[in-house]
């Protein structure tokens, strides 16, 4: 009706729009570090052994090449994660490629994926675990905070 009311409505809409964008960024911008393991796993009494060689491609780029008991990593953004896994069971075998997509849990910064378990079709709790950073050494010296204004920065 009145122009004052109109302005308020427009501003509310703008604020709302910003909030929506913020929420979208919050979800799609979540960064994860995904670790790939080529290790043996025990699950419900069965052992799934590591394979000879695994190559992981994320977004078409080679992210890791893992021999037995090795670990690789890749940084990702958002919850949906897809990769191509090329597995070579034994030395000399032809590699088999599988495209894998999965949804990463929001709350975990670092996620470990056990590739052999995953390829064997096990449920997520078997192949997905949280990467917990090793506790920092106790002897870490307390950092001196420099609030000095004279620090000459490179621009």
């Amino acid at each position: 009706m009145s122009s004052g009311k109109k302005t308020i409505i427009i501003r509310m809409c703008l604020v709302l729009l910003l909030l929506v964008i913020a929420v979208i960024c919050f979800i799609t911008g979540r960064g994860h570090t995904v670790y790939f393991d080529n290790k043996a796993v025990d699950f419900s009494g069965e052992t799934y052994p590591a394979v000879y060689k695994i190559e992981v491609k994320v977004n078409g780029e080679k992210a890791a090449k893992l021999y037995e008991d090795e670990r690789g990593m890749a940084d990702t953004m958002g919850q949906s994660f897809s990769m191509v896994v090329e597995m070579t069971k034994e030395k000399g075998d032809e590699p088999t490629a599988h495209a894998v997509s999965l949804s990463l849990p929001y709350s975990m910064d670092g996620i470990i994926l056990n590739i052999p378990a995953m390829m064997a079709g096990l449920p997520p709790e078997a192949y997905l675990s949280e990467f917990v950073q090793a506790p920092e050494p106790e002897a870490e010296e307390s950092e001196e905070v420099v609030t000095d204004e004279f620090v000459m920065e490179d621009l």
């Binding site: 964008i21 919050f26 911008g29 960064g31 940084d75 910064d109 950092e143 420099v146 204004e149 621009l155």
Partner: protein
């Protein structure tokens, strides 16, 4: 005829006087570039990076100049808001472009609040806006330290130990933005003459330039120019002077906030307690080097300034080291030049203002036949 000739001579002298700072800088650069001995492609690369990094921040100074509030040293306030946004985003492990957008959105209310506060105070300190905004940047820096050094981690939750001080509260000296680093610059990759061109950053800068050009033509922009020319006249013609001035500072603070996010995504890390402290000074110096003055600054000044100033910044240390054999001399030299430029520009502005004032006074004297008004 002779009057005309005289006029052109005066104009030429005026032109040189008005552009003495850029001319001086061109000479400094011309002397230093061969001495420094950098390859042209290196220089080109560096200059492009720095133009992308700093231009947005410098553009944030234009609107307060338009409103007659001088060089807004309070742009530091916006920079601090941006840093707070980035620190929080970093702790939430948001990465890439969404992290930048989110950082801007969270810091927006902080920037608006600080801008309102700064604008109010500057309205109370009319005629002393610059020194007040300068002291304001120190005052808010104290508050910023209170928040970042004591409240973050104790009152404001901070989860990750790589940005939190070992004592359990406060933020470390540097916060890494590794996973945001140059994400904007490299969104549209382009290589030209061996240099990475930050295409997306340039596009954003262009958008801001168009915004400023458009803004000048709006009702608010016109009001601002009127206020900048003469507050009394503006008031008489029904403009809400105080409000207009506050808005100009708020816009400047918001732009500085966004500019700081762009600046830091290029740098790739935040120096938590010092990134912002010099930013106002260097941006103002760059703008003045481009030929702007306290009451007149254009987009052209920004681009010329950022190019010349940063050219000097790149070559001075190397040239200084070459001449004196001491690398520190060059470092100090570029700091000295930055301050000297601001000093000279301020002095020139004040003398010009005074001359104009005394001219008006003389006119009044002639018109009224009394000397009373010539104060």
């Amino acid at each position: 005829m002779s009057v005309n000739k005289q006029k052109t001579a005066v104009n030429a002298a005026e032109l040189i006087r008005n552009n003495s700072v850029p001319i001086m800088f061109i000479i400094i650069c011309a002397v230093c570039i061969p001495l420094a001995g950098f390859s042209p492609s290196y220089l080109f690369n560096e200059i492009i990076t720095r133009i992308g990094r700093n231009t947005f921040l410098i553009l944030s100074l234009l609107i307060p100049v338009m409103a007659g509030m001088g060089l807004n040293f309070g742009m530091t306030l916006g920079a601090m808001a941006g840093e707070i946004g980035l620190i929080l985003v970093c702790d939430w492990q948001i990465v890439g472009i969404p992290a930048m957008i989110l950082a801007v959105i969270i810091s927006l209310p902080i920037a608006v609040g600080l801008g309102l506060f700064c604008g109010r105070i500057l309205n109370m300190a009319r005629g002393r806006e610059m020194i007040t905004s300068y002291i304001m940047s120190f005052f808010i820096n104290g508050i910023y330290q209170l928040v970042v050094l004591y409240m973050m981690g104790s009152i404001i939750p901070i989860k990750h130990s790589n940005i939190k001080l070992p004592r359990g509260y406060g933020i470390r000296n540097t916060v890494s933005l590794l996973r945001m680093r140059q994400k904007l610059d490299k969104l549209i990759p382009l290589k030209l003459f061996g240099a990475d061109i930050p295409v997306m950053t340039f596009i954003i800068i262009a958008i801001l330039c168009f915004f400023i050009i458009w803004f000048r033509k709006t009702k608010l922009g016109q009001d601002m120019r009127a206020v900048g020319q003469d507050m009394e006249v503006a008031k008489d013609s029904g403009i809400n002077v105080e409000r207009t001035r506050i808005i100009s500072i708020v816009i400047s603070t918001i732009l500085a906030d966004i500019g700081m996010v762009i600046y830091l995504q290029n740098m790739g890390n935040i120096a938590t307690y010092s990134s912002h402290s010099q930013i106002g000074m260097f941006c103002i110096a760059a703008l003045l080097v481009g030929g702007a003055s306290v009451d007149r600054a254009s987009i052209g000044n920004v681009f010329l300034g950022v190019t010349l100033f940063h050219m000097m910044f790149i070559v001075a240390p190397a040239a200084g080291a070459r001449i004196t054999g001491d690398s520190m001399i060059g470092e100090y030299f570029r700091v000295f030049v930055s301050y000297a430029v601001i000093t000279i520009a301020l002095v020139m502005y004040e003398t010009k203002k005074r001359r104009a004032r005394s001219r008006v006074g003389e006119q009044l004297k002639l018109e009224q036949g009394t000397g009373e008004e010539a104060a």
